[in-house]
């Protein structure tokens, strides 16, 4: 990659400013003085991942700039918050070389790790986040199996097999026409419009990049004129006036990209609103025992060709009371497995009576479901689901309706904004259905909203003070990470625990978790270490070193605490043996005394840190001894 010289950048900048002021080009980083944006900037400065995630989800422009020309990304890279930077980049923050803000961002990067991260997200390499959706829809044009089309449009010499719901979502003309007559199975184009023109229009409707040049390639001038006229006519008829604008050649790379981005956004919004007002609106909730009786005609007003069923998670239900007509009791709790509870553990009482269970049915389109490999295989196989039946088939999914809706939203619109409460369930659902992007999204939400690494937390919490509210069950997160093979969640969990180790270290669940981790390793037979414990140790040193470095009193670590620590550890072991003695830290803290974790009163906070560190390490050692694990 070549670096532009200063005057080249300046010239480009002046050129850009001109283009922007003349209205040709949209500004990449518009000025934003709103309060929300200020908060976002603030969070980036601090490195508060949770706040950043929340603000970004609420729709703050991530690429705006503040009064001092700072963008959130520049602030975060200047302040060195690696995870925040990654979060911003994953949500589409721009950092492109050869642009003023981009070079500034790279120049300001606190260290090489951050610089490399920024470079790896260079826009020139990354693609539009909506591209996978667009590519899928475009591929529907040429996909012949499994069959998902429900309407054919014929010109005098060609036949196109198409999808009503896409036509209706994208073209107001079709929306009206098909609303009036949903059963239409074919449509004839006037003979005076050439196939090439229709083909261009269809490609446009199906999110493909269109250009007049490729559409008229190899044609004579005369034919070209006819095709272009045809395009003009058909775009008027279908009320897709932007088509013509889209096919005109643009040489400028940025303008082209901007136009493409705009077009994809608009298309997605059309699809989104159609999805909401048709698919979501038409969901039906019925009693589970009656769900098999629901019959949707194949010819329906929203052109659905499959019904997806999700059973409501009802706190009143208990799995054991469900009539088990099948060999296996059908899972009916949140999450993919009954064994792994999602969210706060619910009390389950077998004796409680069971209210009639509800199931929710979502009408859907196979064409969109194909984005999941699970459905692709299902509809491509010769099993029951792939058979054509007079009434729509009902396919049950292994999740709650709200998760199903999230999954569908993602498949139809690429949108994945959901709360932490369902994140784990979404993670499992995405894993089961092979929707890799959604899985990553869920993991991201868990690890950023889960408050695990927030520096705020670190500074507030280095001494193990409890959070006011526990949002996630960290054991569950780690196990979910293992089950779905998301490395990020394991790391997140290890860090989360490390920062609150004093809370967890004595819990039996923690020991169990360590045991499980050890087993995982053994199964793979790679090393003898316990991965989780190693990670926790790593984050533990990080936690305490930060404290020491902050005050510049490293020597404390070297001299005084060393001796103290050895003593303390021994004492601590004794204390451990006396189970009866449990110091009431809370009360003592309230009293304002500075004490170590085992209740010793020490001279200052640093001494306390040092001793705490040693105590925690010691506890882990002991735990491992107890579990007979070598590490």
């Amino acid at each position: 990659m070549t670096c532009k010289t200063f005057h080249e950048i300046e010239a480009a900048l002046a050129h850009e400013a001109q283009a922007i002021s003349s209205g040709k080009l949209k500004e990449d980083n518009p000025l934003d003085v709103s309060d929300e944006f200020r908060k976002l900037c603030e969070a980036c400065r601090r490195g508060d991942q949770k706040a950043v995630q929340e603000l970004v989800s609420s729709g703050v422009n991530i690429n705006a700039r503040d009064r001092f020309d700072y963008t959130p990304l520049i602030l975060a890279s200047l302040c060195g918050h690696f995870d925040v930077i990654r979060l911003l980049l994953e949500h589409g923050a721009l950092c492109e070389r050869d642009t003023f803000q981009g070079e500034r961002c790279l120049y300001n990067a606190l260290n090489d790790r951050i610089r490399n991260l920024l470079l790896s997200y260079d826009y020139a390499k990354s693609t539009n986040p909506l591209q996978p959706l667009a590519a899928h829809i475009t591929s529907l044009l040429s996909r012949s199996s499994p069959k998902t089309t429900d309407i054919t449009i014929t010109t005098y010499d060609e036949t196109f097999h198409l999808h009503k719901f896409i036509l209706a979502a994208r073209s107001p003309y079709f929306a009206r026409k098909l609303a009036a007559a949903p059963n239409t199975a074919s449509w004839k184009l006037p003979h005076n419009i050439p196939s090439e023109s229709l083909s261009v229009a269809l490609q446009y409707l199906y999110f493909a990049e269109v250009s007049a040049r490729s559409a008229t390639y190899g044609l004579s001038d005369e034919e070209e004129l006819i095709v272009l006229n045809g395009i003009e006519k058909i775009s008027r008829q279908l009320e897709i006036e932007r088509l013509f604008e889209n096919i005109t050649e643009i040489s400028d790379r940025r303008l082209l990209r901007q136009q493409r981005t705009d077009e994809l956004d608009r298309g997605r919004d059309q699809l989104d609103s159609w999805f909401r007002s048709n698919v979501v609106k038409n969901k039906i909730t019925v009693n589970t025992d009656k769900v098999e009786k629901v019959q949707w005609d194949r010819e329906n007003s929203i052109f659905a060709d499959i019904l997806l069923r999700a059973d409501n998670d009802d706190a009143d239900e208990v799995e054991k009371t469900e009539p088990s007509s099948k060999i296996l009791p059908v899972r009916n709790t949140l999450g993919p497995l009954n064994a792994i509870p999602v969210g706060p553990v619910k009390s389950r009482s077998p004796s409680r009576h069971r209210a009639p269970r509800k199931s929710t049915l979502y009408p859907a389109h196979r064409a969109m479901l194909l984005r999941s490999e699970y459905f692709l295989t299902m509809f491509g196989s010769s099993f029951r689901e792939a058979q054509a039946t007079p009434h729509l088939q009902i396919v049950k999914l292994d999740c709650s309706p709200v998760v199903l809706e999230t999954v569908l939203t993602f498949l139809y619109t690429e949108k994945a904004d959901f709360g932490l409460e369902i994140a784990i369930e979404v993670l499992f659902a995405a894993d089961q259905l092979f929707i890799e992007k959604l899985k990553q999204r869920a993991a991201l939400i868990i690890s950023s909203l889960g408050n695990g690494t927030s520096p705020t937390v670190q500074s507030d919490n280095s001494r193990g003070e409890t959070d006011a509210e526990e949002v996630v069950d960290i054991y569950e997160v780690i196990r979910a990470g293992w089950d779905t093979r998301v490395q990020r969640l394991e790391e997140f969990g290890a860090r989360y625990i490390a920062y609150r180790l004093e809370h967890y270290v004595d819990e039996p669940e923690f020991a169990e978790l360590v045991q499980e981790s050890a087993k995982r390793v053994k199964a793979r037979q790679e090393t003898d270490t316990v991965e989780l414990v190693d990670d926790i140790r790593y984050y533990l040193t990080e936690r305490f070193r930060l404290r020491f470095e902050d005050t510049g009193l490293d020597e404390l670590m070297d001299e005084n605490p060393q001796d103290a620590a050895t003593n303390v550890t021994e004492e601590h072991l004794e204390v451990q043996n006396e189970d009866a003695y449990v110091p009431d830290i809370e009360t003592q803290l309230a009293a304002g005394a500075i004490r170590t974790l085992d209740g010793e009163i020490v001279g200052d906070e640093f001494a306390q840190d040092a001793i705490d560190y040693q105590i925690l390490l010691g506890k882990i050692e002991k735990l491992l001894d107890n579990l007979k694990l070598d590490a």
Binding site: L328, N338, T377, M378, S382, F383, E385, D398, R524
Partner: protein, 816 residues
């Protein structure tokens, strides 16, 4: 502890779920899949894997498939082993080909069916078990369940023994059946190619090992090897049979058909990848190992060439090219044939020229007509030889173009062979013959031909010229012949002569034609001189009615091969000076004066023997034989010597005579020239202007001559020819002379080359000097090494070079 509860509960679940899955799989195998719910099956598998039971599930599925294949499928395959299938080719005993084919097809159909079903079912299973494949198999580096099931098919079906005594595996049986069918096809039967192909695809899809390595596909590892081996044996036998029973052409056709067949077979029945390998087998067996025998067959290459079997030659060329880029065998045969045929032509020419040569010595003494006849015959032989060679050349050219696809290597070989026999040491006359051929055409051959035809004649000559090694010898002959043509105006067209020169220029370079061009230039200048001189004389004074007109050719002595005309030309001092009559002498001096004015410092030497003169002769009224009595005027065209002799009789009173000696004394004409001129003037019946006494054919010094007053010619213009002045084949003596002269001039060339080299290198070992000299002279001629040695000796003697003392190799130093 929900986890433990869950795990505990699963133990029961697993068996239940597996039961459900297994029964579903059974449905799939019995083709009832459309009733099954994908969602449900997937969910079962998903849960099992999520609960870390992937291993169990994987093993169960494999076990299930193993049992299914062993119990359900194997039996149906075994039912197909009929005695006809099991019959080995060695014991063809009771079965007919047809029976075997039908049984084999049935067997293959069954196998194909089983394989197809297995594949379909397994892909459905793989769909259902997708989560297991992705999660369990990947984490534990297990082959996917589909792959595993394919291996099961290999082990449980193909690698199970058949029931026969030999203990063959099903796989071996399949190989055997396919090979048997292919053998039937080779024998002309029609077989079900599609069926075999699908079996082949099966073999290709399976691997010998569990790692799916590319080179261990069952097809490659087991079938292909066998196939190639049996084919090798088959073709070896076929080649032997064919060589015994059919001719070379038929063999070639057959071989080519077989190669094509095998190629087609690979496309339609087997795999394209085998194509190259089986081709090699066929080529090895049918061509490579047999090509020598094939070429040498009675109906082999020689026969084909002699009978112009272009198509068969093409076939053999094609086959040889397949196995040998250099086409060694074919090239060898062709070359041999060319040299043979060329040598035949050489021998014919030698025979033709030698038959009369026995009488040549006698003829030379003076029996001119006989000698003339001999020489003419030799000329005919020469031209005949050229035409033979050209014919040969055309023939092979045609074969080369039509049958050998204008192959470059073969062209080189052809050229080399032609050069070989043309320059053969046993046939030293080629240069002369070619020059003579051109001469003949220039004088007679091209008369009345179109430009195109002339061009092709010239082209032919050039073609032959290309083969000539000793270009200098050719130059010598050509110069000699050209000289005659020019001076005697024998050439039909100057234009064509020049064309020829320019062609040679292109072919052999500027150096070669420099002297020839100079000859033409001399001719032009001479014309100018003549007319200039005439003008000059006109300007001298009043017109002299008796004036003699002079046409003169001034020839540069270095460029013209004067020795060929003067006989003793090379000894300038000894050249006898003919005494011209005063009138002639006067004009001669006049011209010399005129010429010296134009070009001072040049010496003119008069070559009376080369000139000719037109004489207006008046024969007095004497009664002649036919009784007419009147004065007759004749324009006599005689040689210069003739003119000088006749003029003697002008001054002689009628009735007087001169003896031979007197004539010789007065004219100083060389003895032999005088004899010849007198012969033509006094002996030849049509031009008997002098009367000789006694009337014999031979001219003796004592003979007396007188003017034949009664001469009566039929025409006004009479040409008095002088014996032996045409371009004829040289006699042996002449040849020796020519060669000697040639060697002399070569000696100069060699010396010049050596000096050039040594001047540049200063010091050089002997061997290298010889090599460099050879390469420098390659365009002109190929000197003998002996001659080079002699030249070096001579140069050392003359102190151009010296030997370097004490050098390890013989080395020379250049002395400035």
């Amino acid at each position: 502890m929900p986890i433990h509860q869950g795990l505990h509960g699963d133990e029961v679940d697993f068996e239940n779920i597996w039961g459900a899955i297994a029964s579903a799989f059974r449905e799939i195998h019995t083709k009832n899949a459309s009733r099954l719910s994908y969602e449900e099956l997937y969910r079962f598998a998903y849960r099992i894997v999520l609960k870390k039971k992937g291993e169990d599930l994987y093993l169960r599925v494999r076990q299930f498939e193993h049992e299914w294949l062993s119990n359900e499928v194997r039996g149906s395959i075994q039912a197909l082993f009929s005695p006809n299938v099991l019959a080995s080719p060695q014991s063809l005993g009771g079965t007919t080909t047809n029976e075997r084919r039908v049984a084999g097809e049935k067997f293959m159909k069954g196998l194909k069916q089983a394989w197809g079903d297995h594949q379909v079912c397994m892909s459905m299973l793989a769909d259902v078990l997708m989560y297991m494949d992705r999660v369990y198999c990947q984490d534990n580096r297990r082959p996917s369940i589909y792959t595993a099931a394919m291996m099961l098919f290999r082990d449980d079906i193909l690698k199970t023994p058949t029931s026969d005594v030999e203990g063959r595996l099903v796989l071996d049986l399949l190989t055997h059946v396919i090979l048997d069918q292919i053998q039937m096809e080779r024998g002309g039967d029609v077989i079900d190619k599609h069926l075999i192909k699908s079996c082949v695809y099966m073999l290709e899809g399976l691997h010998e090992d569990d790692q799916e390595s590319e080179e261990l596909r069952l097809y490659t590892a087991s079938f292909e090897v066998e196939y190639l081996e049996t084919s090798r044996v088959f073709y070896r036998q076929e080649a032997e049979l064919l060589l015994r029973e059919s001719d070379a052409g038929g063999y070639c056709k057959h071989a080519r058909r077989r190669i094509y067949e095998e190629e087609e077979r690979c496309k339609s029945t087997l795999l394209e990848a085998t194509s190259a390998k089986i081709q090699k087998v066929v080529e090895d067996e049918l061509i490579k190992n047999r090509i020598h025998e094939l070429v040498e067959m009675e109906s082999g290459v020689r026969f084909m060439i002699d009978n112009e079997r272009l198509e068969e030659l093409n076939l053999i060329y094609d086959l040889n090219t397949r196995v040998d880029d250099k086409k060694t065998e074919l090239t060898r045969a062709i070359q041999k044939r060319i040299v043979d045929m060329g040598t035949d032509a050489n021998n014919a020419a030698i025979a033709a020229s030698q038959a009369p040569a026995t009488t040549a010595d006698a003829g030379e003494k003076g029996k001119s007509p006989a000698q003339e006849k001999n020489i003419n015959m030799q000329t005919v032989a020469a031209i005949r030889w050229v035409e033979d060679v050209l014919h040969l050349k055309d023939k092979f050219e045609k074969i080369w173009r039509d049958s050998f696809q204008s192959d470059n290597l073969l062209q080189t070989a052809l050229t080399r062979s032609f050069a070989d026999f043309i320059n053969s040491p046993t046939f030293p006359r080629s240069s002369e013959y070619i020059s003579l051929f051109i001469d003949e055409n220039m004088k007679k051959g091209i008369k009345g031909k179109t430009e195109m035809e002339i061009d092709s004649v010239l082209e032919k000559a050039i073609v032959l010229l290309r083969y000539i090694q000793d270009k200098d010898l050719f130059e010598r002959y050509y110069k000699k012949h050209l000289c005659r043509r020019l001076l005697m105006n024998k050439s039909i067209s100057n234009e064509v002569e020049k064309q020829m020169i320019s062609k040679m220029k292109i072919e052999l370079g500027n150096n070669f034609t420099l002297k020839l061009e100079a000859m033409f230039k001399d001719m032009t200048i001479s014309e100018e001189l003549t007319s200039g001189f005439k003008h000059h004389v006109d300007g001298l004074g009043e017109k002299d009615p008796k004036r003699i007109e002079l046409t003169i050719n001034v020839l540069t002595s270095m460029t013209w091969p004067l020795e060929t005309m003067g006989g003793t030309g090379d000894e300038e001092g000894k050249r006898p000076k003919c005494n011209f009559p005063t009138a002639i002498d006067k004009i001669k001096r006049g011209f010399e004066k005129y010429y010296n004015q134009k070009h001072s410092g040049r010496q003119l030497t008069w070559l009376a023997n080369m000139g000719s003169a037109d004489i207006k002769a008046v024969f007095p009224r004497v009664p002649s034989k036919d009784g007419s009595f009147k004065e007759r005027r004749h324009d006599l065209n005689v040689s210069t010597y003739g003119m000088v002799i006749l003029l003697l009789f002008n001054d002689l009173p009628a009735g007087q005579h001169l003896t031979f000696e007197e004539i010789q004394a007065q004219t100083n004409i060389p003895h032999s020239d005088l004899i010849r001129n007198l012969q033509s003037l006094a002996v030849a019946p049509k031009t008997r202007i002098l009367i000789k006494e006694p009337m014999t054919k031979d001219v003796k010094p004592s003979d007396r001559f007188s003017f034949n007053e009664g001469f009566n010619g039929k025409f006004v213009k009479i040409k008095v020819g002088v014996v032996s002045s045409g371009n004829k084949v040289e006699s042996d003596r002449e040849r020796r002379e020519t060669e000697k002269k040639n060697d002399d001039s070569r000696a100069f060339c060699i010396e010049a080359a050596i000096v050039r080299i040594m001047k540049q290198r200063k010091e050089l070992p002997h061997q290298q000097l010889v090599l460099e000299t050879l390469s420098q002279l390659a365009t002109q001629f190929k000197p003998e090494v002996n001659m080079i040695k002699k030249r070096i000796e001579s140069l050392i003697e003359r102190e151009y070079l010296e030997r370097i003392d004490g050098a390890s190799l013989d080395s020379y130093r250049y002395l400035a």
